[in-house]
């Protein structure tokens, strides 16, 4: 037995690539990735034009805000919660950004928007982590609060978004390379580094997996949870700014649509709503899939009302298949062994 051990140390010293795959599988990312690839192929077959510069940019600007908010939702789901107020947070950051642009320099406006997102996240986080209240209840209430603050800040669409800002966020960096995708990648990679390559990131997964164990291990479970909420708020604010910029307007109701769609994206990403499992890549690709179904139907010439039905079926199939497959293989193993 112990003879085998040094060998293991060697093996583990250079973790085989399969370890990454294993982690992706454990985090439920395989299915959404596959789904996206299939979806993308279908899309390109039905509408090769997608690969034209113009359509790429259109598609990118459509999915990037959703992808970012979905990442914000993912963080909350990872610590075993759910954020009903995420749409309101988005609206609030959106209008703060848009209105501040009329008064202060762009970088300051950005900082303010991110700050507001952080504040909203911490507000929810404090009540959940230190107040011991369920996330769904807290965010249900704070959704009303943030939403009405947003409408106090800006009562109707408007604000100081300029052409320049549009180009800087939603234009093209290089031909065929929409800027919005670059910003999304930056956020996604940073978040990935944080979740996979820092202790705090692992704590976040751990807290969702079993809060009591994390605390018994001497880690500050509550602080970790609080930080996850704050981080989520910041990422949501980035999504809000991307939305404001790509629509060239601030809008106090712009976030409303993103509550259910962000949850749906996280769901399609195969994350566990009990916490502790979920992947960034899966979430981003899930958001792209859901965000583009409407487009696909348009080019396929199908009544757009079908998109509600089709989105639902995709979620059922993509999230359901791995489970069924798992059962089958398990049953088979049971037979064989």
């Amino acid at each position: 037995m112990s003879v085998a051990a040094p060998a293991r140390i060697l093996r583990s010293a250079r973790i085989p690539r399969s370890a990454g795959i294993t982690r992706l599988r454990r985090e439920g990312a395989i299915a959404p990735i596959t789904a996206f690839v299939v979806f993308f192929l279908v899309y390109v077959i039905i509408n090769p034009e997608l690969l034209t510069r113009f359509q790429l940019q259109t598609a990118a600007n459509l999915v990037v805000p959703l992808a970012l908010v979905a990442l914000g939702q993912l963080l909350i789901v990872l610590v075993g919660g759910i954020d009903i107020s995420i749409g309101a947070i988005m609206s609030l950051c959106n209008v703060v950004f848009a209105t501040q642009l009329e008064i202060v320099p762009v970088p300051v406006a950005i900082l303010l928007a991110v700050g507001v997102g952080l504040a909203c996240g911490l507000f929810n986080g404090l009540l959940v982590a230190y107040g011991g209240l369920p996330a769904i209840a807290v965010t249900l209430a704070s959704a009303f609060i943030f939403g009405s603050i947003a409408r106090e800040v800006l009562d109707r669409p408007g604000g100081g978004i300029t052409k320049a800002i549009y180009l800087a966020t939603s234009g093209e960096l290089l031909p065929y390379l929409p800027v919005s995708l670059v910003w999304l990648s930056v956020v996604a990679v940073l978040l990935w580094l944080l979740l996979q390559r820092t202790a705090l990131g692992r704590h976040i997964y751990g807290v969702g997996s079993n809060m009591e164990s994390v605390r018994a291990a001497g880690l500050n479970a509550r602080l970790t949870k609080l930080l996850a909420f704050g981080l989520s708020g910041m990422i949501t604010s980035v999504g809000a700014m991307m939305l404001a910029a790509s629509t060239v307007t601030g809008d106090p109701r712009s976030g409303d649509a993103y509550l259910l769609s962000s949850i749906a994206a996280v769901a399609l990403a195969g994350a566990a709503f009990t916490g502790g499992r979920g992947s960034i890549i899966g979430t981003v690709l899930a958001a792209c899939t859901l965000g583009l179904i409407g487009n696909l139907l348009f080019f396929a010439g199908i009544n757009s009302y079908w998109q509600y039905v089709i989105s639902a079926l995709i979620i059922f199939v993509v999230v359901g298949l791995p489970v069924v497959w798992g059962r089958i293989t398990f049953a088979l193993k049971g037979r064989r062994s």
Binding site: I82, I84, L127, Y130, G131, G132, L133, P134, I136, A137, V138, L140, A141, S142, A143, F144, I145, G147, S148, I149, R151, E152, D155, R222, L260, I263, A264, A267, A272, F273, T274, N303, Y305, W306, Q307, Y308, V309, I310, S311, A312, L313, I315, F316, V319, G320, V323, V324, R327
Partner: protein
Amino acid sequence: MTSSTVPASQSPAGAPSGKPLGSASVRQLGSRIPRSTWPLIAFVVLFVIGGLIRPNLITIDSLVGTATFAIILAIASFGQTIAVIQAGIDLSVPNTIAFSALAFLGLVAPFGPVGAFAAALLTGAVIGLLNGVVISKLGLTPIVTTIAMNGLLFGAILLVFNFSELTAIPESLLAITSAKISLLGVETAAVLPLGLVLMGVLQLVLSFTGWGRSLFVVGSAAEVARLGGLPVDRIRIGGYVLSGVLAAFAGVVIVGYYQQASATMGASYLLSSVAAVVVGGASIFGGRGSVVGTVGGALVLAQVSTLVAVLNLGANIQQLIYGVIILLVISLYGRRNSA
């Protein structure tokens, strides 16, 4: 050495301020008073506050008025309660409501009120069955399943129904919902007693039948139920079927009371049904909850809207205050660890 017991409040320095000192005693109290009465107490407090602001708010009629809107929300939230008790959630309530309402109106002409009513409940049962099967047999999480189902239903509503052919609402339905009746000399809409009776029946089922209790076991520890030999899947599916039927019932009641039906008529119940259940003292993690509590939760929500209306601060600020009061109420007894 003689053991000296020191009052709980006197905790040593350096202890984390995580749990407020009072919480232990709060929990003691909570354990003595049944949870389902907490929201009712909260309602009474809010009702009295209303009276202090506007004396004419503390009349019987005012109470009945609030209770009427509360009971409609409660009826729409009974299904949600069942789902939450079994550690699930039913986010397809909104479009189950709309679907059954539209189905009812569409079918009154061919099948008559009773037939249409039965058909509407049946649609709810089928929706619930699908939710239940996907959740327990495919093992998808309830949130995912029911959100997807809600979307699917909206598409179906838009594709299936021809709104122009919805016939007018049958008298018999009006008679059990919006019609004024007088109970013990109090004038009230028929929907109020209807809802209270439904509450009574459901509470009996939940507290005093084997099925009801099994639902709680499944909700607080599914694996325990399974290894105890309970038919977990059947219990779950049954729960979602009942949840769907109750949402469908709510759809018909809403048509009767408001005499309105549209594709988006359920939308507001997505969050408010969850709110009523949570404010009603159920644990969103399952294993705890009651329909009596849910009625209390709905009463609290309705009373809060009555209160904010009094303030006349403008619609938007009233929304903010609404949120704040909800937050205060749930922080009173919504703690995850208070059993």
